[in-house]
Every structure is written in C-alpha cells, then in structure tokens.
C-alpha cells in the first residue's frame, strides 16, 4: 500500500514537474516563468524526498535541503533583476 | 552582564541554531549538542552587525496558539483552494485585491503576518504601502474583500500584536 502511495505521489509530482516545464516554456512573462521554475524546484525537493523514502536512503536529504535553501536565492535574484535590474544594490 | 550580552548577543538565536544543528546531525548526542552550542554562540556573534534592532517576543503561549491556528488554517484552506483549482471554472472565479490597514509596526510582526497570509490559501500578500501602513493582498476567489480583511485582522493581526508589540 505504501508502495502504491509512493508511486502515486511520484506520478503526481512528476506530472507537476512537466507542467512546470510547460509553463516555463510557454508563459508570456518572465515572472510566471520564474514562478514556474520555483515551483519546479519545490516539486523536485518532494521527488527527492520521495525517492529517498522509496529506497530507504538518506543521501538525498542534504541536496534537498540545499535546494530548498538556495532555490529561494535564485528566485529572489531573478525577481530583483526584473524589479530593479541590479540584484545587489 | 554587559560581557554576557556581548558573548550571547542573541540567546534566542543561539537556541534556534543549536536546535538546527541537532536537526542537521539527526542523531542526538552530546557531541552534537556541544558542537551545536559552540556554533550557536559563534554564529550570532559573527552575524551580529546584520541585525541592528531585534524584536522581543512577549507572549510565548500566544506564539504556540498562533502557530497552531496557522497550521490548521493552512490545512483546511488548502482543500478549498484545491477545489477551486480543480473543479471551478476559471471564468466563475472572482479574484480580488484587498487592502489591509496595519496596526502592526514591527517589521518582524508585519513579516509574519504577510507570510501567514501567503501561506494560508486563497490569499497572497503582495505589497506594502509606501510607508508600510497597509498591506496589499490578492484573493484567489472572493466576492467579499472586506470579509477577508476583517478575518485576517481578527485571526492573525490581533494575535501578532500581542506577541510582538
């Protein structure tokens, strides 16, 4: 049952990632694209944790954590770029 | 006392960081605690210049209460949003802007409020007004912006005011 649940979750997040990619490529404004990228990053974190759960391994944790921490930084950087041009001012 | 303040410029942060370290180490041990504590002392000391003014939390029970309220709201309201997204026709939705006049003055409090608004589904805090007296919120689907405003003020801002100010 847990196996089914994990696969279900895999499917959901996998589909989510593909939708994010679709959004990134088709969106008309960069803002939405950045949003989609950010969402993709978060979905990826979910996938990594899921996979770790699935395989019973911890090696995905650090990467997931770093991604959670740093993905934000790049999103902010993109947004600041669009708002101010200069991201460090 | 002054010396102690200098060494522990931010005891709450020290505790938070030690906790973070223990989470990171993921296996409670004396070594981790000692090490985490050492870093928990060093890092606030190093980063001191970056937080010139810091808030004081006044009402710890209220902090707990607030967290529980928010968690609950997140869970419940997410379902609502999921319904809107999955089942509601986009044309039927009524997105709306809401202006929330703020009584909060502390940046930390405002931040927590804004964060809460964003994390609770259906609303996203979008901007502060030019002097920070109002918060602009976007609603995914509401026919009554004033109700949203009142609920936010009632449910969150009131509690935050007690915690921070």
């Amino acid at each position: 049952m847990m196996g089914f649940a994990i696969h279900f979750a895999f499917a959901c997040f996998g589909a989510a990632i593909i939708m994010c990619l679709w959004r990134i490529i088709t969106a008309e404004g960069v803002g939405t694209r950045v949003l989609a990228l950010d969402t993709m990053v978060i979905n990826t974190i979910a996938l990594m944790i899921l996979y770790g759960l699935f395989k019973g391994t911890e090696i995905f944790f650090e990467a997931a954590m770093i991604i959670a921490m740093l993905g934000f930084v790049s999103t902010v950087a993109y947004a600041r770029f669009m708002l101010r041009g200069n991201i460090i001012e | 006392m002054e010396l102690l303040r200098r060494i522990f410029p931010h005891p709450q942060l020290t505790i938070l960081l030690t906790l973070v370290w223990l989470f990171l180490a993921n296996a409670p041990s004396l070594n981790s605690l000692v090490f985490g504590l050492i870093l928990g002392i060093i890092i606030p000391f190093v980063t001191q210049p970056y937080w010139p003014d810091r808030p004081k939390l006044r009402n710890w029970p209220m902090v707990i209460e607030y967290m529980l309220v928010v968690l609950w709201d997140i869970v419940v309201a997410n379902v609502t949003v999921a319904k809107i997204i999955l089942f509601k026709r986009d044309a039927d939705r009524q997105p709306n802007w809401v202006c929330i006049p703020l009584e909060l003055r502390t940046p930390e409090a405002i931040t927590v409020l804004a964060g809460t608004i964003t994390m609770t589904p259906g609303t996203v805090s979008c901007d502060l007004s030019a002097q920070g007296h109002n918060l602009l919120v976007h609603c995914l689907d509401t026919s009554d912006p004033d109700a949203v405003r009142d609920q936010i003020k009632q449910r969150y801002e009131r509690r935050l005011k007690e915690i921070f100010e």
Binding site: M1, M2, A16, I42 | V124
Partner: protein, 128 residues
C-alpha cells in the same frame, strides 16, 4: 500496528501528491498571473510538507529512529515561500498594474512597488 502506520504514511503521501499536482496544475489552468501565484506557493508547499511528514513518520514509526531533519526543509520552505510570492507579486504590480487599478493605499497613497522617486519612472506597461 505497522499497517496503521503504513496507512498513515500512505495517506500523507497521497494527500501530498494531490496537492503537489494541484499546485502545478493551477499554474497551467489559472489564466491571470496573480491567481497563478496562489497555486504553487501553498499547494506545492503543502505537498512537499506532506512528503516530509511522511518521511519523518516513516523513520520514526517504521524504522524506529528519530529523524527530524526533514523539519529543516519545511522550515526553509515556510520561510521562503512568502518571499518568493511577494517578489513575484511585486513584479506583476510593477509591470502590469497601474496605481489606479489597485485598491487605495490609504494615507500612504501609493503601494511600495509604485513608489519610485521620479515620477517619470513610473513603469511603462510593455510586455515582459
């Protein structure tokens, strides 16, 4: 007992899967950019939160060792998601909303994003 634990974990996983899906699906389905912002910022965050919760439960309940480091990821996401949303909203306001389209900002007159020093610098509303 184990079955109940597994059931619990499975529940978390399925719920989180749904929310993860909804978060991204909303981004596709919702038409106006501001509304799109809603879906991922919370549905996805909650989705991930569910997975993390499942993971914690798994290690505590099934493997029998306390593993709370997933909480850190949750912490980061909860700390950062509002900021992400805020910036994207600001981008939208900056690019696509005129001051008069927004609710009145009260005594402050303008929302911060529009409050630029020079009047002529008020954003033009070209694409991007």
């Amino acid at each position: 007992m184990e079955f109940i634990f597994e059931l619990l974990i499975a529940f978390f996983l399925i719920v989180s899967g749904i929310f993860g899906f909804v978060g991204s699906f909303g981004m596709i389905k919702l038409k106006d950019p501001m509304s799109r912002l809603h879906a991922p910022t919370k549905a996805t965050t909650l989705g991930v939160g569910g997975v993390l919760l499942a993971s914690i439960c798994h290690s505590v309940l099934i493997e029998g060792h306390l593993s709370l480091h997933e909480l850190l990821i949750t912490l980061f996401l909860f700390l950062t998601a509002p900021i992400t949303a805020l910036f994207i909203a600001k981008w939208h306001i900056h690019r696509h909303e005129k001051p008069e389209d927004l609710p009145d900002a009260g005594e402050d007159e303008l929302w911060a994003t529009h409050a630029v020093e020079q009047v002529e610098d008020v954003p033009d509303h070209s694409a991007n």
